[in-house]
């Protein structure tokens, strides 16, 4: 094979009708560019939403719910079994808020291979006191490092960092709403009064914001130990256990087993956010469908232009064949034209896609829910670029193949005699 000659012919053909070639290449450019933009932006948004909901929500949430017993004493009385027994005004019995035997339970969960991590919490109802103001609220004791590792806790933090909690045992991360209402800033002091009357001075090490006013106006975070002290309880006082699994799909079955085994209320993430997964996969499907449609349209453009070109170049094809170029050579001339159009168009498409993605990435996007996000989220996954250029080459090859095969099969005698 003599690729140089074939390439020279290809190049001459492409450069002598630069307009048509450019239009064909632009079709690919827009197809690939849109694919890159759509995928980067869509998966970026998906990632953000995953972050908001999936990554911050525990896969299994364990706690003691206060509720009336489903079985009343009368149900255990044999002579009345099978009859319609009605008990009016059933009240839940007073039981402890804390999880019974929490520390061995945590150790048991952490030993499970399916579990990525366990984060215990203790919650107390308190009054915030600053100057003459009082505000009621909830204070949660956490292990800051675990919360950061498992639930991206640091993404909520406006000022300061969860690590400041570790450095300062009497530190507090205050909800943004509380800080605003009481005119407090990091570095200030705040007093917290518990329901049993004790008053604890705490130092504000940071402000957090979830975007949900109800939470921002009442919730604060401190070290687990601090809450246990405020409540006057020991280090085994734990009211909630949040579990993160390696595989989210196992949450439902595991939560059922744990709930029954330890007589706790266990809520899994799928029950809490059932519609979420569906949304993600539908968004992915739509972006793929649109991109593939665009690329197919671009492919038809190339097919059309090459087809037209082959009709224009019948004489050239006949003369090439008459002077000793084989059908395969002629086919290669046209396939290489299609591939060059695909390659140049594809590379420009990647650049266009990257450029617009960068532009989107720098477009301001402020949302209360995500204090750390300042611009639109864009996913710069190199995989999209690899898929993009591969698709450009494959689709232009296919679009070029049919016209090229037609050129291969042109009978030079018919053309020459037809004159």
């Amino acid at each position: 094979m003599n690729f140089r000659v074939i390439f020279d012919i290809t190049r001459t053909h492409l450069t002598t009708r630069i307009k048509q070639s450019a239009i064909a290449a632009l079709g690919v450019t827009f197809g690939i560019g849109t694919y890159i933009i759509m995928m980067s932006f869509m998966t970026g948004l998906n990632g953000l939403l995953d972050d908001m909901v999936l990554n911050r929500t525990p896969h299994i949430h364990l706690y003691n719910e206060i509720k009336p017993s489903p079985q009343q004493p009368i149900d255990f009385y044999a002579p009345l079994a099978g009859q319609l027994n009605v008990v009016h005004s059933v009240k839940p019995k007073r039981s402890q808020v804390r999880i019974h035997n929490a520390l061995p339970l945590i150790a048991h969960l952490e030993a499970d291979a399916r579990v990525q991590g366990v984060s215990p919490q203790a919650t107390a109802k308190v009054f915030y006191l600053a100057g003459s103001n009082e505000l009621n609220g909830i204070i949660s004791g956490i292990k800051p490092l675990e919360e950061m590792r498992l639930f991206n806790f640091d993404e909520y933090i406006l000022h300061g960092s969860p690590k400041d909690l570790i450095r300062n045992r009497n530190g507090i991360l205050l909800g943004a709403g509380i800080a605003k209402k009481m005119s407090l800033a990091p570095g200030d002091r705040i007093q917290v009064s518990s329901t049993n009357g004790g008053i604890f001075p705490l130092k504000i090490v940071g402000i957090f914001q979830t975007g949900l006013a109800e939470i921002d106006n009442s919730q604060s975070y401190v070290n687990l130990k601090t809450v246990q002290q405020i409540l006057g309880e020991g280090s085994n006082f734990i009211s909630d256990i949040n579990v993160k699994l390696w595989d989210m799909e196992e949450a439902a079955s595991m939560s059922k087993v744990i709930g029954e085994q330890f007589k706790l209320t266990a809520i899994d993430i799928n029950t809490a956010n059932a519609q979420f997964e569906t949304g993600t996969s539908i968004r992915n499907m739509i972006s793929y469908a649109v991109s593939i449609t665009l690329l197919i349209v671009a492919g038809f453009g190339i097919y059309n232009i090459l087809n037209m070109f082959i009709y224009e170049k019948m004489n050239d094809i006949a003369i090439l064949k008459a002077t000793g170029f084989s059908g395969f050579d002629v086919k290669m001339i046209f396939i290489s034209q299609a591939l060059i159009i695909g390659f140049i168009g594809g590379i420009l498409g990647l650049l266009l896609g990257y450029g617009v993605s960068v532009l989107i990435d720098h477009t301001p996007f402020e949302t209360e829910a995500l204090p750390t996000v300042k611009t639109y989220p864009v996913n710069f996954d190199p995989l999209f670029y690899i898929i993009g250029i591969s698709f450009a080459l494959v689709s232009t090859f296919l679009a070029g193949y049919l016209p090229a095969r037609k050129a291969q099969n042109i009978d030079p005698v018919e053309i020459i005699r037809g004159q």
């Binding site: 000659v5 020279d8 012919i9 002077t323 000793g324 170029f325 004159q419």
Partner: protein, 235 residues
Amino acid sequence: MKYILETKGVHKYFREPVLFHVLKNISFGIEEGEFASIMGKSGCGKSTLLYILSTMDTDYEGELYLNNQLLTGRSGTELAQIRNEEIGFVFQFHYLLPEFSVLDNVMLPARKLGKKSHADIKKDALEKLDLLGIKDQAYKKASRISGGQKQRVAIARALINNPKIIMGDEPTGNLDSKNADNVFNIFKRLSEEQKLSLLVVTHDKDFANRTDRIIEMADGEILKNHYHRRLRGQG
């Protein structure tokens, strides 16, 4: 008797629109250095015969030999290779690639053959153009030169790989008498000086009369051969 090109019992049928027996039992040969012309009325099958001889048309019965090698039944790629190396073509319409320069047009078949370096091919091509007196047009685009010049470029291209035989389908049919004369003289010179075989289909009686031999065809058969200059082998 050494034939460059020889046919044995060639039959050809057109199947569309109705079955038609175009060529009937054609057997003849062209010798080395012979300048032969084929004459006949339109539709007598002379062009059809030429395209079979050129190896471009493979749909026939009988046998075709080039240089005593059987060509019948070979693959398209093999035949393309043979056309490239052994056969030169000149057509009525000049059939240059209009977007390429004159020089590129002449060089293409040699570059396809790929036996010489680019520089050697270029030197050869300029020599051939010089031989035909159009070296000064070498760097012009093929679409920018006159009809007579185009035909001479086509001859230069036919010569580039030093073929055994040159075939022409009315190579002067589209030229005025002065240019036609010019082309004839070039052919004559090639046949005499370089011992090149030539086979030309023509309508032009004057042209045919000056060739070595006229093969007269009618209704798909060779009627007779008129020899104007007998070569040794045909004594």
